[in-house]
Point group: C2
Chain length 422, copies 2
C-alpha cells in the first residue's frame, strides 16, 4: 500500500509522464520546466518559436465566420443532452511533415471533415482527444477550468500514438478565441456548460501500421446538460457492473492516455451493463479485483476506519488509470480542507465488500469533466448486489465537492483554477 | 502446455469465437452453423433474408463507374509499395439504425469520405478492418484466398465494438464485383497482388462513449508489392525488438479482434524498434515473456527436440493473438504434410534462448496476409542479440510454406482455398 502525500501529489500526474519526453518538455509551461530542471532548454525554445515543426501559433489564426443566415438557433437549456448539438464554428489546424509541420490555425464554420478512405485514424485508431468545459459565471464572464492540465495531457497522448505535439498556450489561445466567437452558445445556466472537444487524428491516406506524417487537430464545442441521459442519476446515484472478465487497461499499455483505443473496446461491456439495467462499468484489474475506473470516470471511496478516522481514497496513477483533471482537483481540494485523510492507493472489491458489510463505507463516487461528480448507489459484482449509501447521507462529501467545484467554475468565488476568457 | 491436435484445430478459431454470439451465427455459413448445432435457426434466417437489420444484399448493389477520363494510370509493378496507391473504385454500404439498418450497397468512383467532426470513429476508435488479397493466377484468373474466414472474423470484430454484422456471402459477392470492375489493377506478377481492405467505422455524429447507431462499411483496393519497404527482408530476414515493457494485448481485452484499438498503441513501440534499426516488434506477455505476435503477424518457431524430432510451434489462440487466416493455413498445410509435429502452445523467450544456444532452433517466421511468410534473422531482447538462422538453411521450411501458399494463390494448382472470381 503506497500512500502519497499532498506535496508528492502536486503536479504529480504531469511530472510522472512528462519527464520521459523531451519533445513534450518543449511545450510545457515554464513552471513545469523549472520543476523538471529543463531551464537550460529555454533558449532553444525561443529559437524554435517560429518553427512550425514545433508548434502552430495563435498569431497566425485566420477566421472565417458563418454567414448570419447560417447561424443556428440555440437549444433550450433544459433539454440539453450530452454531445448532440454543436456550435456554429470549429477550429482546425493541419500538420503535414512534408510542409514543415504545423500549418496556420483557422476558425471556420462548423463543417464535415473530408478524409481519404485510407486515413490512418479510420483503420489504426491513430487518434486522441480531450474534454474540457467552459462555464458562464454568475458575473457573466466565461471561464475555463484548468485548461493547462488538459493541454499538457493532450501532448502526452499525442506522443503515445505518434501524433505531433504543440505549444499548449497557443492551443489554449486558439480555443479561447473559438469560444469567444461562439460565446452565445455557452448556456446561461448553472446546470449546463459548453463542452470543448479538442482532438488530433492521423490523416495519412496510406495503409500500413506506421506513424502518420499528416494530422488534423480540430476542436468542436457543444452546449451540454448532464452526461447521463437520466438526469436523476446525479442525485439518485449510478449503478455499476463490476465484472472481472473485462479489463480496460493493463501495465505496458496506454490505459493512462486519452487515446481512442481506450474507448472502442469498452462499448460491448457498456452494452452488457445496460442489458442488466446498470448505468456504468466499474473496471477491475488483477486477481485481487482492484478498482481502476468507473465508466469514463476516475473513482473515489469515502469510508470510516475502525478508529473513527474518515478517509477519502482513490486508486493511484499506476498506468492503468487516466490522470483526470477533476480527480486531481478533488484530491487537492480535500487535502486543503484537511478534515479527513486523503490517500492514493489500491482499492479492491474485497475492501469495498468488507467496508459495506461493516457499515463503514460512506460513499463511492466518480469524477470526470463530462459528468463532474457522480455518486454511486450500487455495484453488481459476481452476482452480488453491493449497496452503496452515497446519496443517503444528510451532507454527503460528493455533493460538497461538486458544489465547491461548481462555485469555482461558475465564478461564485475567485480561484486560480478558473481561467476567464477575456 | 496444451497441445492441440489437427482435428481440434480445424475451424477452431471460428468456432472458438462464434459460439458466444447469436447475432454472428446468423451470418455464418451453413456448414459452421451445422457444426455449432444452429440448424434450427435456419428458418428464421430465411425469413430474415430481406431484413435490412440483418444484412445488405448483393442483389441491391448499384454501380456508378468512373468516367473514362477519370481512370488513373496503373503503377509500375516493380515500384509498388504497400498501401500507397488505390484503384479507381470503392464499395460503400451505410447502416442507419433509424432507417431499418443496412442500406443498399454501392460501387462508386474512389472518393474521400465526409464525416461529422464528432463521428465516433474519430474519437472512440469504433472501427475495425480486414486484410485480404486477390491474386492474378498463371491462367489469368483472379483468385481470393479463403475470403470466408476474413468475412467471419470481420463479424466477430464488429460485435466487439458494437458495429453491425452482415451476411458474409453478400459482402464477398460485393467485393468480388468491385475487383471485377477494377480487375486491370490486379498486378500481372507473382511478386504482387491486389490488397483488399474492407472496414466498418462508427459514424454517429455525437459525443459520448456509446454504441454508434450509424456505420459505414467500405472497401478499398490497392495493388501491392512486399509489405516491408526494404524488399530484401523477404530473403535476409527481419530483425525484432522484444521488450517486456510493452504489452500489445491482455486477457479480458480485444487482442484477438481486428479492431483499430489494437494498432494505434503500437506506433510508439514500432518507432522505438525503428530507432534501434530493427524492423518489427516481437510482442511479449507475462512474467515468463511469452511470445504472442510479431509486428502485425502471427509467429511460428521451427526447432529440433533433443531426440531429433522436428517441431513447428505457434502460440495458441488464448485471446492475446489475432486468429490469422495465414496462421490457420500454415497449421493446416504442415499437419497435412505430416513430416514434423505441429503444436499450438506457449513459446517463451527462455525457450528461444535455450534452443538458440543449443543450436536446435532452426527457424522463426511471421505469417500474415500483408507480408505472407517473413523469416526472422535476429531478436534483440534485454540488450542481448539472439541470432536466428532462419534464412541460412538450404531448404528452409518458411520458404517451402511460402512457395506452397503462393502456388495455391497464383493458381499453379487447383485448391479449395483459392476462390476464383468469375
Amino acid at each position: 500500500m503506497s500512500v502519497i502525500t499532498s506535496k508528492q501529489c502536486a503536479c504529480k500526474w504531469v511530472l510522472q509522464h512528462q519527464h520521459k519526453f523531451k519533445q513534450v518538455v518543449r511545450s510545457c509551461s515554464l513552471r513545469v520546466k523549472q520543476k523538471l530542471g529543463y531551464d537550460q532548454e529555454e533558449k532553444t525554445n525561443e529559437q524554435n518559436e517560429y518553427d512550425s515543426e514545433y508548434t502552430f501559433r495563435y498569431a497566425d489564426l485566420t477566421t472565417k465566420l458563418c454567414d448570419p443566415s447560417q447561424l443556428r438557433a440555440k437549444p433550450d437549456v433544459s433539454e440539453l443532452k450530452f454531445g448532440q448539438i454543436f456550435t456554429d464554428h470549429m477550429l482546425k489546424v493541419f500538420y503535414h511533415k512534408q510542409l514543415r509541420g504545423w500549418q496556420k490555425p483557422s476558425i471556420i464554420p462548423f463543417e464535415n471533415i473530408s478524409l481519404h478512405p485510407a486515413a490512418k485514424v479510420l483503420h489504426y485508431s491513430i487518434e486522441l482527444f480531450e474534454g474540457m468545459k467552459a462555464y458562464r459565471g454568475v458575473d457573466g464572464r466565461i471561464r475555463l477550468f484548468r485548461p493547462d492540465l488538459n493541454m499538457q495531457r493532450m501532448n502526452v497522448s499525442a506522443l503515445s500514438v505518434g501524433l505531433p505535439t504543440f505549444d499548449t498556450h497557443e492551443l489554449t489561445k486558439c480555443i479561447s478565441r473559438l469560444i469567444q466567437i461562439d460565446q452565445e452558445w455557452v448556456p446561461h445556466s448553472e446546470s449546463s456548460s459548453l463542452y470543448i472537444r479538442p482532438c488530433i487524428i492521423g490523416i495519412d491516406g496510406t495503409l500500413g501500421v506506421v506513424q502518420s506524417d499528416s494530422a488534423l487537430l480540430y476542436t468542436i464545442l457543444c452546449p451540454v446538460g448532464g452526461y447521463f441521459s437520466s438526469s436523476s442519476t446525479s442525485d439518485v446515484g449510478v449503478s455499476l457492473l463490476a465484472d472481472p472478465a473485462y479489463i480496460r487497461a493493463w501495465p505496458g499499455g496506454l490505459g493512462d492516455r486519452k487515446t481512442g483505443s481506450n474507448y472502442g473496446p469498452t462499448i460491448r461491456v457498456q452494452k452488457t451493463a445496460a442489458l442488466k439495467g446498470l448505468h456504468q462499468v466499474l473496471w477491475l484489474y488483477g486477481p485481487d479485483n482492484q478498482v481502476t475506473e468507473m465508466g469514463t470516470m476516475n473513482c473515489f471511496m469515502f469510508y470510516v476506519e475502525e478508529n473513527g478516522q474518515k478517509v477519502l481514497v482513490t486508486p493511484p496513477l499506476n498506468g492503468l488509470i487516466l490522470p483526470g483533471v477533476t480527480r486531481h482537483s478533488v484530491i487537492e481540494l480535500c487535502e486543503k480542507w484537511n478534515e479527513f485523510r486523503v490517500e492514493q492507493r489500491t482499492i479492491t472489491m474485497d475492501e469495498i465488500i468488507k467496508l459495506s458489510q461493516s457499515g463503514r463505507l460512506l460513499e463511492i463516487f466518480g469524477s470526470g469533466t463530462a459528468a463532474s461528480i457522480s455518486p454511486v448507489s450500487m455495484i453488481e459484482f459476481l452476482g452480488q448486489n453491493i449497496h452503496i449509501p452515497t446519496v443517503e447521507h444528510a451532507q454527503p462529501l460528493y455533493k460538497r465537492i461538486r458544489d465547491r467545484l461548481a462555485a469555482i467554475q461558475y465564478g461564485h468565488c475567485e480561484h486560480p483554477w478558473a481561467v476567464p476568457i477575456e
